[in-house]
Symmetry: C2
Subunit: 483 residues, 2 copies
């Protein structure tokens, strides 16, 4: 494999090449299909095309074989369903497993749906226990059962233990590619042992030092090993105070530790300090990326990562829940307006002005909430500083309310030559921004306290409060002072 194929430019180039080869492939397929005759009856010209077709196909296959599994995964993700499945059939069976691991969840489902049990079992058998655990949720139940039966006791136990941890625990993301040594040998002996092993697992940056009961004694970074005296004992060179995790630790906290201490791998130990696996920067980066994506998606009201080429019906399902909730909050806001229909009938300008008050409140509330959600995620917000946060946000809201409220009040006055309307506008704006500030702090903190993810749904709640609240405040004040 040349190094060119590792760079991003050539990844999009590869994608373009695959697409054009697929296009040619389809063209000829259509031709054969349209004629509706077996290939030996084809006219001479068609035979030529068929040969070209075969050539294209073998070129495509060669191209695919040369690509890194992650790159094949990327190309599969970028193709519409039909092309994707065509390409998937061209992938060599012995690469199915590693590629399935790399594709996005939604795309993986579309590929698995296209495979029979036999193919799935064959693909799965090339994988380690921790990789199988990643794949397991997407496999049909009977395939998973067959797979369990085909594993030896040791690997079955590993797979079951990995599957037993919740998605946000370190245990669900650890792997078992650990190389262990004893502390009472010299580095020279250790190096001889490594040379006998021949290769070390991906991302190995340290060896784990254990006693004969697999109790972790420390870690021996390779970069320390290669600069140390060969006569030295492992125990004198190893780091005894390394960062380590328990399988039930929250992966998000492990991710923060990886970032803070610049880790590549770290040991995972049970309550007795017995080494059970390791966690790698790779797993942690995947987690960070997934988490930030799912935050972004859920902020926009998408339940799940969506396959770009999923059917319309699947997309509707992914989005309907949020739209339904929004419909309900919108109806609530609409009923609040309904309370004041009498006032609107008398001063129709209220109808034109009220969405401004509601809208700015929603924006301001979402600004506050975003800050708070971030502070919670970073562990920078606690009971200790909640009060000062509310005070500060109310200060910001008051200033913004007076500033933008005055601007709006003047605009309302200019449009409708009614200074009282301007004053009502300014007051309503300020009050709604204060409401947004308080709710913007309180809602995410409450959700966090009750153990829920404050990134999910907070925005809907804030907008519901500031919409209904904004209409109520503005129309209520107008009814009191203008009618």
């Amino acid at each position: 494999m040349s190094d060119k194929q590792h760079t991003k430019e050539s990844l999009s180039e590869s994608l373009q090449q695959v697409i054009s080869l697929l296009e040619k492939h389809k063209l000829v397929e259509n031709l054969v299909h349209k004629q509706g005759v077996p290939s030996h009856d084809l006219a001479k010209q068609d035979l030529v095309e068929l040969l070209v077709h075969r050539q294209n196909l073998s070129e495509l296959q060669k191209k695919l074989d040369a690509l890194h599994p992650a790159d094949v995964a990327h190309i599969l993700e970028a193709l519409p369903l039909e092309d994707r499945l065509n390409l998937w059939e061209l992938v060599k069976a012995d690469r199915d497993g590693e590629i399935l691991l790399e594709v996005a969840d939604s795309v993986r489902q579309s590929l698995i749906a296209d495979m029979d049990s036999q193919e799935l079992l064959a693909a799965a058998e090339q994988l380690d226990a921790d990789e199988l655990a990643d794949l397991a949720p997407d496999l049909p139940k009977d395939v998973l059962q067959d797979l369990m039966d085909s594993l030896d006791a040791h690997n079955r136990e590993r797979l079951q233990s990995t599957l037993s941890y919740p998605e946000d625990a370190v245990g669900a993301h650890m792997d078992f590619d650990i190389v262990t040594i004893r502390e009472d040998i010299t580095l020279e002996v250790a190096l001889r042992y490594l040379r006998r092993l021949g290769t070390l697992p991906e991302l190995t940056d340290k060896l784990f030092v254990v006693d004969r009961n697999d109790i972790l004694q420390g870690v021996l970074p390779l970069k320390r090993m290669v600069v140390s005296d060969l006569e030295a004992n492992v125990v004198d060179v190893m780091a005894a105070d390394s960062v380590k995790f328990h399988p039930q630790d929250i992966i998000d906290e492990a991710a923060q530790a990886f970032e803070r201490y610049d880790l590549v791998t770290a040991p995972v130990v049970d309550a007795n300090n017995k080494l059970v696996g390791r966690i790698t920067v790779d797993a942690v980066m995947d987690f960070i990326r997934d988490e930030s994506e799912s935050d972004m998606l859920s902020m926009a009201g998408l339940r799940d990562e969506e396959d770009f080429f999923a059917s319309v019906w699947k997309s509707v399902q992914n989005r309907w829940a949020w739209l339904a909730i929004n419909l309900m909050t919108a109806i609530l806001a609409s009923r609040v307006i309904g309370l004041f229909e009498g006032s609107i009938e008398k001063i129709v300008a209220l109808a034109a002005l009220m969405p401004i008050v509601a809208g700015i409140g929603g924006n301001s509330g979402n600004q506050t909430t975003t800050m708070i959600v971030r502070g919670l995620a970073l562990g920078q917000i606690s009971a200790h500083n909640m009060q000062s946060l509310i005070k500060k946000e109310m200060g910001v809201a008051l200033l913004n309310g007076l500033l933008w409220g005055s601007v709006l009040g003047l605009i309302a006055y200019a449009l409708y030559s009614n200074y009282q309307l301007g004053l009502v506008m300014m007051s309503a704006m300020t009050l709604n921004l204060l409401l947004a500030a308080v709710m913007g702090v309180v809602i995410p903190l409450r959700m966090h306290k009750s153990g829920r993810d404050p990134a999910v749904g907070t925005s809907v709640l804030i907008t519901a409060v500031t919409d209904s609240g904004g209409f109520f405040i503005f129309l209520g004040l107008a009814t009191i002072f203008l009618i």
Copy 2:
């Protein structure tokens, strides 16, 4: 340092301990201050308190000295300004530099503002060229100049070159902690050389193999080095086809390559393949985290990462631009409503129903946009599949419009016993969702094409279109069919 201090539990514990020690510290400070007398005049009881105070202070200092710089940074970030600066004074001067590197930008500014030129220079002198480059944008101009003058030619050149790349280029994030060897030596000689070095830089997972002109020949992973025959030559063990980057490469693409190929470090080379530095997984993770945060912040209309304990005035400045833009779009929507005041006067129910049509359109448009922005970021969307995306999104919009439009139409009918109003409601809803779908695809793609970040501002634009559009469609249809 015990390993306990590396875990997250003890980080929040440390934070609590520091906070309570600071509280005690402040209590006694206040006491002394209130009395307004020099300490030798203090009553006996006060003297005791003063002694306790001194003891607290030394305890606090000991605690700080034992903490990892990243942990001190975390604690500084979580403290209100006054406490933060009190604590900052207690940090040993020789740790200032490494801690400044770890704190968030906004907090760093507050710390630097509290230091004089002398202190800043002393802190900066402990840092490498690549670390200085991180700090440089926050340093006062004269300090930066003094610093440049104090560097030797080699490091000054490195600092200048790092500063010369834009923030999103690999060159701005690379470091110079590279260990190079020649390809024509045996591993045994290479290991002897490493042992002479004594230590290797953080995150060293591979050596860079260069010729005498520093032209990169390949990389030698440590994990391959320790399992290979000592008699073998470097050239036979190294990987010649390693992933490498150029300083002007986009860091986001490097980040994707790091994730795809599970890299820890990678060489950075110039156009002649000459080794100029390296990029580490650490720098890449920082970038991913920053990027996802700034996406999240800009989606909510915050210009910048905000210090939780910044002044109200600073926060107002950070947020005002977005609020002003929203105000303008809200006024536009309000003027659209103003066009139809006559219709609203006749059927006041329109005022209560119109925000529903606008609101659902905004939500649906933002769902579409979020998908597209993500696809663009992952490189999965291109001209090749844009048409199929628009078609699909319009399908989703049509289905949702008919579904939720019917529900809403029925509700409108139930509330106002006017079946025509129900039909107008359903049609307006469907049309506004279709508008949202088209704009949700077109706006981010246009922004991407014109070279701007589609995550920034897209949401405002979509909401502006669906608000004004929704009001116009609904009130327009009502005016045509109901008035």
